[in-house]
Assembly symmetry: C2
Homo-oligomer: 302 residues x 2
């Protein structure tokens, strides 16, 4: 089986990119869309993020065989309630959220009897809203599918196929493991970036204008991540609390060791750590998960 | 006055870029170079990082009116000792190091009677060595000059002119303030990046291969910084200990507050912090200190 009618609820960066990717990569498949914000719907119509943009969530999902909730994690329950009465009995309900345990529980609870197969494309940019999406966002990126125990295997395979058609590489794992993996590869990096940018804005000894001027020393990299959507990220930390706290405490232990090394002038410990971390970068570039050019290729358009 | 004969000691990313920038932007000025590593000297000759590459540091500085030490902070004393006997009495000795108080003290001590005017171009990439430099590295980047009390004003102005000729914007400040500013805009970001990449490589719950695969969720940004030159960065932390510890403790206090907010499920506190940090990014992009394109323009060459 393969999905023929895809409904997209939420038309920001990810939802909009799904719509554009289906248009380009699955030409026979129809798309319908809905967003709770009328301004977003208007812009989505202009950009053609789905073939039809509905003003009512129920209308958007009627007849769809795949419904993808592309809303912040904290809005999942309301979004599910808004479509429950109009879902086709055989449809698959999926999502794109960054935490999977609480979403699985929320959707299973809100949509009893429906086939819930959560997923998470590990892709994005610092931009958000209906202007941010683009059709190649998922190319060469991983998408993690987290089928609950007892999920219909044919439908899981169809969802895997769907994401692969959009250019993604797919891996299946359970929701709890997903949440630990993403805590370290995504949530803690965002938390640290948001925190350090906040710290730097409020210093007494160094002005904000100095921080901005001299940001090319490294700080500016953090500001990109720290300009991501605040609602989405608040919801991630509210919904992946346990894994985030677990990984944060491991990081804090390592940072305390580094602090001691600086205090003690232990150059050997620092040199060892700083040397080991180069290998990880090389592997990421070798796997096509980052740009090999210096500075990510910044400024190459000049 | 303006410098006519520039000697560059150390031909890595920054030294090599200075040589190439002088070639392109100051065509009448001659350059001589030296590096302690014969392999680096051989490669520097092939790339033409200076007009003449000498096998002896004394020969490289003989007759120069500006000598720039482009070696790791920890190598400054030895580099100064190696050239002391051959310096012209009227020359200016400068450097490009990331910490300024200890370098000022070291050079003043090692080269009594010479005009020491330290400087720090806030520019670079994650690459190092004689292949890493390029002539436009300093374009639209800031260079901080830290003249000691009593420095010759004409010579300071000539050094400011020199960096402006290479495309940099120059600001003068005292060494201690520089060290605080760079602690927050550069040293702490590097320390955090090195630490989190180390943490992520050594987890029990998540494999290294998973960290690499799913790095597009944010982690990969940190790996770029964490692949910078280990010797250079060890020396930075050994030489800017006080300012780094001061800023690190401010960051740790803020991170502890964020940890409490996550633990308590305080969405409002998180949303407020995550919203404020967007403004800083906008200012950095507006000032031309970063690329406005999503993801720094990554992948735009595909």
């Amino acid at each position: 089986m393969s999905f023929q009618r895809v409904a997209i609820i939420g038309l920001g960066l990810i939802g909009g990119s799904v719509g554009l990717a289906v248009r380009d990569d699955l030409p026979g498949v129809t798309t319908s869309g809905y967003d709770i914000d009328p301004k977003v719907r208007a812009r989505a119509r202009q950009r053609g993020l789905a073939q039809v943009i509905h003003d009512d969530p129920g209308e958007a999902v009627r007849g769809a065989d795949l419904v993808i909730l592309c809303v912040p994690v904290g809005a999942m329950r309301d979004a599910a309630a808004a479509i429950a009465a109009d879902l086709s009995p055989d449809c698959v309900v999926s999502d794109v959220g960054s935490s999977k345990r609480t979403i699985t529980d929320t959707l299973t609870d809100a949509l009893p009897g429906f086939e819930i197969i959560p997923a998470h494309p590990v892709a994005g940019t610092e931009n958000s809203g209906p202007d941010a999406g683009f059709s190649t966002l998922f190319h060469q990126r991983w998408c993690i599918v987290t089928p609950p125990a007892g999920a219909n295997k044919t439908k899981v395979a169809a969802l895997v196929d769907f994401w692969e058609s959009l250019g993604a590489m797919v891996e299946c794992m359970d929701a709890d493991h997903h949440d630990r993996v993403l805590a370290v590869t995504s949530h803690i990096p965002h938390l640290i970036a948001y925190t350090i940018v906040g710290t730097a804005s409020d210093l007494e000894q160094v002005t904000r204008s100095e921080v901005i001027k001299y940001s090319a020393g490294g700080f500016r990299d953090f500001t990109r991540i720290a300009s991501s959507d605040p609602t989405m990220w608040r919801d991630v930390f509210l919904n992946n609390k346990d894994a985030v706290l677990e990984m944060l405490d491991t990081f804090l232990t390592d940072l305390a060791l580094m602090r001691e090394a600086i205090k003690a002038g232990d150059g050997e410990m620092m040199f060892d750590t700083f040397s080991r971390t180069r290998a990880i970068r090389r592997s990421i570039v070798a796997l096509g998960q980052d740009d090999a050019r210096a500075d990510f290729g910044r400024g190459d358009h000049d």
